[in-house]
């Protein structure tokens, strides 16, 4: 989530910059959270966040890379990163799902 993006700074260089939030909206927003009770928590100093992370990673050495592989992407239903002539936009099913059809 955007709210989980911490500033990279000279003092804490291992953090992803929150500026990336917009620039890298892709990775960021893709990461729907499993647990959303952590939203906004990165405003507390000391927490570490990762691009695309929906959660605070803290100092946990075990990072979740499940969904960074082709299989993981397939599992989650990610179908981007493939060239197409036009941006087709939302499908009729997606619009219907959101009450926009």
């Amino acid at each position: 989530m955007l709210t989980n993006m911490e500033n990279t700074s000279a003092e804490s260089p291992n953090r992803i910059d929150r500026r990336a939030a917009i620039k890298w909206m892709g990775a960021v927003v893709a990461a729907a959270t499993v647990s959303d009770n952590l939203l906004g928590a990165t405003k507390e100093p000391g927490a570490k966040a990762i691009a695309g992370a929906g959660k605070i990673i803290g100092t946990d050495p075990v990072l979740n890379k499940t969904y960074t592989t082709p299989q993981g992407m397939k599992d989650v239903g990610y179908v981007g990163n493939v060239p197409s002539v036009d941006f087709a936009g939302p499908t009729p099913e997606a619009l219907k799902h959101l009450g926009l059809a």
């Binding site: 989530m1 955007l2 709210t3 500033n7 990279t8 000279a10 260089p13 291992n14 953090r15 992803i16 910059d17 929150r18 500026r19 990336a20 939030a21 917009i22 620039k23 890298w24 909206m25 990775a27 960021v28 927003v29 893709a30 990461a31 729907a32 499993v34 939203l39 906004g40 405003k43 966040a49 990762i50 691009a51 695309g52 992370a53 929906g54 959660k55 605070i56 990072l63 979740n64 890379k65 969904y67 960074t68 082709p70 599992d75 989650v76 990610y78 179908v79 981007g80 990163n81 493939v82 060239p83 197409s84 002539v85 941006f87 936009g89 997606a94 619009l95 799902h97 959101l98 926009l100």
Partner: protein, 591 residues
Amino acid sequence: MAIISEKDLQPIYDVIVVGSGAGGGQSAYTLTMNGVKVLMLEAGRNYDPVTETPMFQIPSQMPLRGMGTREKPFGFTDATVDGGWEVPNEPYTQASADPKTHFKWWRPRMLGGRTNHWGRISLRNGPYDFKPYSRDGLGFDWPISYEDVAPYYDKVEMLVGVYGSNEGLENTPDSPNGTLLPPPKARAGELFVKKHIAKHGLPVIPIHRAVLSTRQDHVNFPARLHPNNPKAQKIIAKAMQERAACFWATDCGRGCSIKANYQSTTVHLPPALATGNLDILCNAHAREVTVGADGKATGIIYIDKVTGQERAVKAKAVILAASSGETARIMLNSKSNRFPNGIANGSGLVGKYIMDTVGGRLGGTVPAFENLPVHNEEGAGTHVYIPWWLYKEASKLGFARGYHIEFGTGRRMPGMGTGGASPGYGKSYKEEVRQKYGSGIGFSGRGEMIPNENSFCELDPTTKDKWGIPVLRFHWKWSDHELKQAEHMEQTFHMIIETIGGKPGKMSKTKEEAIEAPGSIIHEVGGAIMGADKAKSVTNQWNQCWEVPNLLLNDGSAFCSNADKNPTLTIMALAWRASDHLVEEMRKGNL
């Protein structure tokens, strides 16, 4: 002429351009298309997006799965090489220990500068944005109006290729018909937001971005760009045909190997080189502008970063476009008997009135987005935005000026941490991730900062970089206008997320907490403001230094306000305008 090494330097050039980003790229383009012989000095290394861009890599193919590091703050595939918040051997300092006064300075060090990875959001300043002082008594009016710049906005939009639409909204200018490229469709979540917030009066419209949604009109644009200049028309027509249209798949922040988005290295420099009038010298760090007995600029002293040697090059005119902070630094370091406080700094205003954009943000999750039927939502970043909508309410808000809102939704490329901090187990875990993936939303506000006396840079009296060049020391203070604006942003985002049935993230406790750190939006401008009065400004309306008319400042340093419109399109429009004027002055023999 080409990308050269030191031994190929000519004894004298018409113009030296320092920096190869948006301002330097546009200046070199305009000048060389008009037959002017240009040397471009770039502190960073040569960089070729066509061969160096990792277009389709997914995180599992990247070191650290693409995570940000000290060397790569925006992650492994970001286009930035050798740049960042910290640049080895090139420190900068803060005047006070209080973190609230610290300015974070993002510096690129590569051919093309920040244009290789910028967000490509390309908004025109509106008529109000050039006359802010006249409207509310704060800051400064520009010595030019929207009408002066509009023809150059048209040209830059045609040259670089900008998608967007004309909506006829207040202070959000339309472009002439046939100038913009068609905008991409809005994503599902974007349409959802649009539908539900209309009742609050917030318009969601196509954003303007420097991305080729279709190929450029290489038949008609060249004559509109370069009337009466057949050679230039031919060169740009060819260059336009070498650019492909966006294929809606990859992350523009990595750069674009098919030249579908704007970066100086794929759009400005190739045609400029094709004129035969441009030499580019990389790894050449400009230290100071040299001055002759007549007080005019005579050239540049630079450090060859590979050998550490100091060299001098000569020209009839000099353009600084090293990014606003670095331009101020070069000027302050250009001390002579005639200019003891730095070149063209008789007013004492070099380094003063530096600005960034006011940033605020809030994210949330939206249950309605869960289990969205699978479809592609990638391609060309932002598609829509919310322009500032409260011009009529200005007197009631408690702060001056406004902001626009950028937001993101969608089923974008998963990264580290997707699915929670650590992997779960079993079918239900996977199902939950599948359900929730793509249900996030993030809002960012981008607002106008008013220039103030307390936000400035100067030379640090003691700290020097590796080559012995004094570095910048920063001072910063927000005024209450910016702080209240950031607070207003957060409240608006909270309202929007609730309106769409989402769960907002945690709000800041204070307005000081709501505002992003100074410098972090990386829209640095100011430091050598333009004006109508030479006692109160550094340059005239042509980006020409009052005291040194053959020295031009063609990056954001001459900005005397920083509208919410993101600065780069305006940097390019003004660089084109200033370079046209320089060509004319040179022809007339006025320099």
